[in-house]
Structures are given as structure tokens and as C-alpha cells.
Amino acid sequence: MFNETILIEYLPILIFIVLALGISGAAVIGSLLVAKQKPDPDKNAAYECGFDAFSDTRGKFDVRFYLVTLLFIIFDLEIAFLFPWAISLKDIGMFGFWSMMAFLGVLTVGFIYEWKKGALDWE
């Protein structure tokens, strides 16, 4: 049946998943079986260049880090999008070209907005 012919194209992915599971599983289970287990409270302590930890490891981050990261990811994605587009521009024609222009336009509007709002200023 024709749906099986489609599914067969996904066989490599399935094989890859199985292999990945197998290798990572082997690593975890192997270390569990082969290595020597010597539990010690110091082994769970935070490591900070040889001296005792100043504070809890789960320290608070400034929320602005996240904001910048999020804004960065958008442009990251944009680049990730532009590569395949540039490669296949010949095939997707004018429609493809203008689609990307529209996408860039929308991103630009968003960029102007965040700039004006002051999301890019640290202080």
C-alpha cells in the first residue's frame, strides 16, 4: 500500500533513534555497571575553583537575560530560515522571494517595536 512506501522513507530516522537510544543507554548503564561507586557528600557539593561555595547554586538571574535571549533566538531562526531559502530561491520563484520579504518585514516591525519599547537597553 502506498502509505507504506511513504513510511519507508522515514526508516533511516527510526534507525537513528534506535542507535541513539542504544549508545546513550549503553554509556549510562555501562558506567553504572563497570565503574566503582563511592558516594561522598562532597561529591554533590557545588564546585567553585577550590574554595567553599559563596551561595546556593540556584542563583537568581536577571530576567533581562531571558529577554535578550528570546530576542536573539528570533533572529537566529531568521538566519536558519534564510539559508534554505537562498539555496532554493531558483525553484520557488517570485512567490518564494516575496514570502521571505514579507517575513523579514514582519520581523523588522517587531524589531522596531522592541527597540522603541526599550527592550534592548540594559538600564
Partner: protein
């Protein structure tokens, strides 16, 4: 490179959506550039933009054009639903303006988000590809997540936003999984091709039905059909009332329109299978809608349950799987939207000492302090309960007729029983308004001109629908016929 004409693709059927999207972005830029000066005008610009979009929708000839490489279809069905969406959004904006000022959350982002959500909804009803469907749904949902938490000062609004977002993400995941299953077993995302494959593959593989179940579960979440309704009461209660009004009126309609397109186009050959799911959802929704509301004391929660119940009735019409059923669903949703708009106008009028109050008991004695408001809400509640001769009765009547036409007798009877139970809590509001003594009076003259106008229109619609029902039924019939071509 020879194909590089300037525009070798047809954008005309997309005009309304493109216009609205550009307007939204334009308002965003204007708003962020001019700050406070823009804040006062943007609501009116937004209304104007919606109005023009409505004009475009009704004027652009669609001819069932499929554009964007088979992603987008403009037909009479989508045209009608889009007009309803635009009308609902306009009503919401009319209701919101004064409310946002009162709550000090009148930022221009609200309007931009509402417009973007509208764009998403308009794409939803025109989507004829599972991919564009998902994209449109996410555009709508992401806007709505933010809107739910729009009142940043209120912890309850933030909670509502987070709940909606987290559960919405889960629902999206289910949907995507369903779509991938369907794609995996049919090799296509396009509705036309899917229809053809379903016709060839008989019996349809198990996995496709599984995919359909996942897809429907995701959509049921958007519809707030039980048992995927859990977010509804919390979000309705927590979100600002203006946003709740939007939630109650518009996204459900878009999701329902989308649901019907999926069920009647690609899955038209799976009626016996999906009918079971829809009946299950309908029955559960009616039970939850009828019984859940009884214990509520917050009017927004009550409306949430009421909307769950109404979705249950609408799903009866979907389960009928006939042109009459679609017609009934569209009419029912139209009437429900009109009633809800008026109800929210009254809810927004519930303020005491400048602060909004939401308990049903706060309505006590309204018939003496503000009789016009009390009578208006009374009429709307009777209509919601489906008491003739108000409009709500006809919506239910058409639904039950469609169910009987499809020989779903048990479901129709169940619907009638559920609406009897539901009548209890609608009438309780009437009782509180007219027979209970007020402890504290509500503020007088809270409503703005647009809010009064919407309330008046809503009540007039409910009252006078009986005089000329054919005016509305004719247009819903046309839309239904477009989706259900002579099968």
C-alpha cells in the same frame, strides 16, 4: 530564473487578511512611536480597520479561489464566518474601550493583539491545508495567551495566562501529533488530496483515525468542549472582562468553523467514526455546561460554563452531519454571539465604588436601581435559556431539528434535558435581579456610549429576531451550502 515575473501569484482573495495584518503592524509602529497621543485614537483606527476588512470580505469576489499553493481557500462559507468574526471582534472592541480605561490597562498592544488574533482566526476559517491550519491556529492562540494575561498587575490574570498557555501548548502538541499521524499514513496535508485518499483507502487505517482523534482533541480544547474545557472557567474568571468577552464570542466560532471544514471536507468519508467523537464531546459539554454552572457564584465563571454548554448544543448540529446541521450551527453561533455581547455589556456595568465586581449576588436589587439594565439582562438570560419567542430559542430549535433529521433522537432529547437544567441558573440571575434585596448598590451610569449601543443592539436582536428570522437563516443557509455541496 525565467519565471521571475513581478507577481505571478494571485493575492486578491487574501486582501482582507493582508489588509488587517498590515493595519495591525502599522498600529504597532504608530503606537510605539507616538505613545500616549496614539493611545486615544488607536481603538478607533482598529474599529475602522475592522470595518474596512469587513467591507473587503463582502466585496472581494472569491469564486472558491484556492491560493498560496493550496493553503488558503476563500468561499461563501469562509466569507460568512469571517464577517461574523469581524462583527464579534468589533463588538468586543466597542465593549472594551471604556473598560480598559477603567482598569488602567488601556495600552495599544491590546488592540494590536486583538487584530492579530482576528487575522489568525480569518486564516483559520480559510485554511485548506493542515499546515496553514496549524499556523493560523497558533497565530490566534499566541495572541490570546498574551491577552489573557494582559492585566500584568493582577496575579489572577497572570495565572489565567499561564494556565491557558500551558494547557494550550499541550493541546497544540496533541494536534500536531494527530496531524503527523495523518500525514504519515496518507502522505498529504492538503484537504483535497486527503479527501481523495480517504475515498480510496477503505477501510481507513487505524492510525488515521487515531490521528483524527488527536486532532479533534486539540480542537476541542480551543472550542472549550468538555472534557477539554478545564481551562475555561479559570481563564474566563482571571482574564480581564474585555478579554473574556472576546474569548466567549469569537475564537470559538472560528474554531468551530475550522472543525466543520475539517470534518466535512477531508474527513467526509469518516462520518461514522468522527460522529462518535463529536457526540461524546457534545454530551460531555452539555453535562458540564448544565451542571457545572449551578454551583458558581462568579458571573464570569457562570458564563464560562454557559459557553461550554452552548458549544455542546452546537456540536449536536455538527454531529447531524447535514447541510441543515451546519446551517443550524452557524445560526446558533450567530445568535449566541449576539446574546453574549449584550451580557458582557451588563457585566462591565457591574462596578461598585469604581471597582469591578463579579459575584452574581452583586446584581441583587438591580431591577430597582437600574431597571433598564435589569430588563435587558433578563431578556438575554431568557434567550440564553432558550425561552421563546427570543432568538436563543430559534438557535436551539434549529439544532434539535437537525439532530432529529439525522435520527439522533437520543442526542436531541439529551440536549433538551440539558437546556432545562441550564435554564435554572439563567433564571437564577433573573431571580437575583428582580427579587433579592440589594445590600450595596452598584454604581450608576457606568457604561459608555459604544457599550450602551452594543447592549441595545443585542437586546433588539434577541427581541426582534422572531419578526424576520429568514433574513439571517438565508445567509447561514448560503454559507452552509458552500461547505456541504450537494452530497
Amino acid at each position: 530564473m525565467s519565471e521571475f515575473g513581478f507577481l505571478d501569484f494571485n493575492l486578491v482573495p487574501l486582501l482582507p487578511e493582508v489588509f488587517l495584518a498590515l493595519s495591525a503592524m502599522g498600529f504597532l509602529l504608530i503606537g510605539v512611536s507616538f505613545g500616549d497621543e496614539a493611545r486615544r485614537v488607536i481603538p478607533w483606527y482598529a474599529l475602522l480597520a475592522l470595518l474596512m476588512t469587513g467591507v473587503l470580505v463582502s466585496q472581494v469576489s472569491f469564486d472558491d479561489a484556492i491560493v498560496l499553493g493550496g493553503m488558503f481557500k476563500a468561499d461563501a462559507y469562509s466569507g460568512f464566518v469571517k464577517l461574523l468574526i469581524i462583527g464579534g471582534v468589533m463588538a468586543t472592541l466597542g465593549l472594551s474601550m471604556r473598560y480598559l480605561e477603567q482598569e488602567h490597562i488601556d495600552q495599544m498592544e491590546f488592540y494590536v493583539l486583538v487584530l492579530l488574533a482576528s487575522v489568525g482566526m480569518m486564516f483559520m476559517v480559510s485554511a485548506v491545508n493542515l499546515l496553514s491550519l496549524y499556523m493560523a491556529l497558533e497565530l490566534q492562540s499566541l495572541s490570546l495567551y498574551v491577552l489573557a494575561a494582559f492585566n500584568r498587575q493582577s496575579p489572577r490574570a497572570a495565572e489565567a495566562g499561564v494556565k491557558y498557555f500551558a494547557l494550550g501548548g499541550l493541546a497544540s502538541g496533541m494536534m500536531l501529533f494527530g496531524i503527523s499521524l495523518i500525514y504519515g499514513f496518507t502522505g498529504s496535508l492538503d484537504f483535497g488530496t486527503l479527501t481523495a485518499s480517504m475515498m480510496v483507502m477503505q477501510p481507513v487505517p487505524f492510525a488515521v483515525i487515531f490521528g483524527l482523534v488527536f486532532l479533534l482533541a486539540g480542537l476541542a480544547f480551543k472550542l472549550s468542549a468538555a472534557p477539554f474545557h478545564m481551562w475555561t472557567p479559570d481563564v474566563y474568571e482571571g482574564a480581564p472582562t474585555a478579554v473574556t468577552a472576546l474569548f466567549a464570542m469569537v475564537p470559538k466560532l472560528a474554531a468551530l468553523a475550522l472543525l466543520m471544514r475539517i470534518l466535512f471536507e477531508p474527513f467526509a468519508y469518516l462520518v461514522p467514526q468522527w460522529e462518535q467523537i463529536i457526540i461524546f464531546l457534545a454530551v460531555m459539554s452539555m453535562i458540564v455546561g448544565a451542571f457545572g454552572a449551578i454551583a458558581q457564584s462568579n458571573i464570569k465563571r457562570l458564563i464560562a460554563y454557559s459557553s461550554i454548554g452552548h458549544i455542546g448544543y452546537a456540536l449536536i448540529g455538527v454531529a447531524a452531519a447535514s447541510e441543515g446541521g451546519i446551517n443550524a450551527v452557524l445560526l446558533h453561533m450567530l445568535i449566541y454571539m449576539a446574546m453574549t455581547a449584550g451580557t458582557f455589556a451588563v457585566i462591565m456595568a457591574m462596578r461598585r465604588g469604581g471597582r469591578s465586581v463579579e459575584r452574581i449576588d452583586d446584581l441583587a436589587g438591580l431591577s430597582r436601581s437600574q431597571p433598564i439594565l435589569a430588563y435587558a439582562l433578563g431578556i438575554l438570560m431568557f434567550s440564553m435559556a432558550g425561552v421563546p419567542p427570543f432568538a436563543g430559542f430559534f438557535g436551539k430549535l434549529m439544532i434539535f431539528q437537525a439532530a432529529i433529521g439525522a435520527e439522533l433522537y437520543a442526542l436531541a432529547i439529551f440536549g433538551v434535558v440539558a437546556s432545562v437544567v441550564a435554564a435554572y441558573y439563567y433564571l437564577r440571575i433573573v431571580k437575583v435581579m428582580f427579587f433579592d434585596e440589594a445590600v450595596l448598590m452598584l454604581d450608576l451610569n457606568v457604561l459608555s456610549g459604544p457599550q450602551r449601543f452594543i447592549l441595545a443592539c443585542s437586546v433588539a436582536f434577541v427581541l426582534f429576531f422572531i419578526l424576520s428570522p429568514s433574513a439571517f437563516i438565508d445567509s447561514t443557509q448560503l454559507a452552509a451550502a458552500a461547505l456541504f455541496p450537494g452530497r
